[in-house]
Amino acid sequence: MSYFFQQLVNGIMLGSVYSLVALGLTLIFGILGVAHFAHGHFYMLGAFLVFFLSVSFGVPYWAALVIAVAVFCLVGVGIEFVYRPVRDKSDINAFIVAIGMLLVIEEAVRAVWGTGNRRITNPYPQVLKFAGITLELQRLIVIGAAIVLIVLLHLFIKRTRMGSAIEAVAQDREGAALVGISVNRVSILTFSVATGLAAAAAALAAPLAFIAPDMANTLVLKAFVIIVLGGLGSIKGAILGGYLLGVMEALAIAYISPAYKDVWAFAALILILAIKPNGLFGGRD
């Protein structure tokens, strides 16, 4: 039984990262219809920035995290400008732009930091033991910080003017323009928030594993699965889907097979879409 809970906690940890990445992706997709396939690469870039700051410059971990998030909020603005020319064209054009972007990023990282795996020293390596579960403190911090970020994002969207503008654009772009919301500005804001979230997720999870130029390839696939499952553009769906996938994956590893750990989510998605072609929770068509 303790093994079950151990895996459950691991699943929640995994789910925290998935949720944060999927949240950004769903905002971008829901609002602009852009399949931002390079999102995972900004996650990777975030991890490398934290590595660069904390290992090469000795910046304390939390300071590095804050700097990374701030930097990537700005980077998000830049991403929006790359996508702008293809925003209203067909899905595949934006997708190819994303591929181009991720090639550039991946190779740039290889050029700067080399091709090998890197490690960030775990700032909280203390091992906690309770109720038969063994856990590094950092994993607990990931879970906690993810919850804080999700709550903050929720407050931002529900309680602030800019937040409502984001929701408005997501639900009806023309309606938003009619009440005087600048779609371009919201689009920039969205990319900024989403990229910041990805960087935060990366900074949190980075000390737990290797960081490598290709670390985010499966992550971004999974994030897409999550947002499709949760209904494209649905914030609630992305959060739920993220945690669901994380837990599902951890339990599949435990009770089915670790070799196929990445497969279950994708198989489930294909089946669900075959039955409900517009995703589990509807979403835009």
Binding site: N10, N117, R119, A209, P213, M215, P258
Partner: protein, 395 residues
Amino acid sequence: MATRKVVALLVVTLMIGGLIATCTSCGDTGPKEVVIGLTAPLSGGGAQYGTDCQRGIEMAIEDINKDGGVKIGDDSYDVKLSSLDDRAEPEQGVSNATRLATDDGAKIIFCPVATVIFPLLDINEKKDEEFLILAYTSIEMVTDEGNELIVMPPPPFTVYTKLFTKLAMQQGWTRMAMVQTTGAYGDAWAKGMGLAWQTAGGTITDHARADYYTETDFVPFLNKALASSPDVLLIGGPSQPTALVVEQAKSLGFEGGFIVMDQAKIDGMAGQIGMDKMENCIGVAPVEAPFPATPVFAERYKKKYNEQVTWESAINYTAMILLKDAMESAKSVEDPMAIRKAVPGVLPMSGDEFPVTLDGIENKGLMHMPSAITMVKNGEYTLSSDLIYWWKEKD
């Protein structure tokens, strides 16, 4: 929009043009050259491993060229290394080797990953495109396929399985879980080790395979393995990810021992995570211990790369020097078969002069290199100075 389009077109053309220009200009040919090929993982989890091999060969080539290159009659050839990344993927390795053999005219190709060596055996005897494989692996099976163009310097891993088993059992460990790297190397090792372990009366509690070259987090695999409450874990792949496995296992509360496959080097891992975390690891002895000339090499290596020397560098260095001697003895840089045939004649290479001892070579290409094992106890390497002359014990 129209002007932008023109600008975009200009940028694209300029970039492509510039690229082609730089590429064509870099193809100059200097004095006589012999190209040595290397296909190895130079990115991902195996990057460190591949780079270590590359550095050993590079140092040897530097020494050779400083010495006047490969001398055949009145001619002398400068040696040049051409390396390509294969990410430990067979298909990429095959494509690299074909490229090295056909485009660069390499007659000798170094390859440090068994999973890649196997398919290379299928293509290295093709007429007019033959190349000699310098197989840096401990999977003896690569020499069992009757290929005549292979040389395998490291001792076969079967040397270690019984010794590791004995050592582990002495600690009172009987339950072993395996978290091996995927691929031919890991499979062969796990099979051999499992056999030795069970013959000695141990039990295998769990068997998981993880891709050490691409995985970045091993906790999911370890959780499963540790749930079977083993005394000892069999782990191993390139040193860097293997070190992470040890660290993560300890963070999950595992207090037993580790049997580390020979691809991962105990000293290399200690360099990653610190000696204190290496407690109870059983594996190949650190590189500095066995041979007299090794510390000298280690010193040079440290000076050059500012890192601890590894077995990868030491063995590949020696192998490269060996091949240079073989070329000179065969009086050919072109004919891999002649070079291969000249190898026995230039052996032995003594550990008094070179970082490792290469004592002899069997017909199928397996070389005789003495080795040593170690176990980390109280932060110290134990047993590491006892050399094993394994081929003498063979029946």
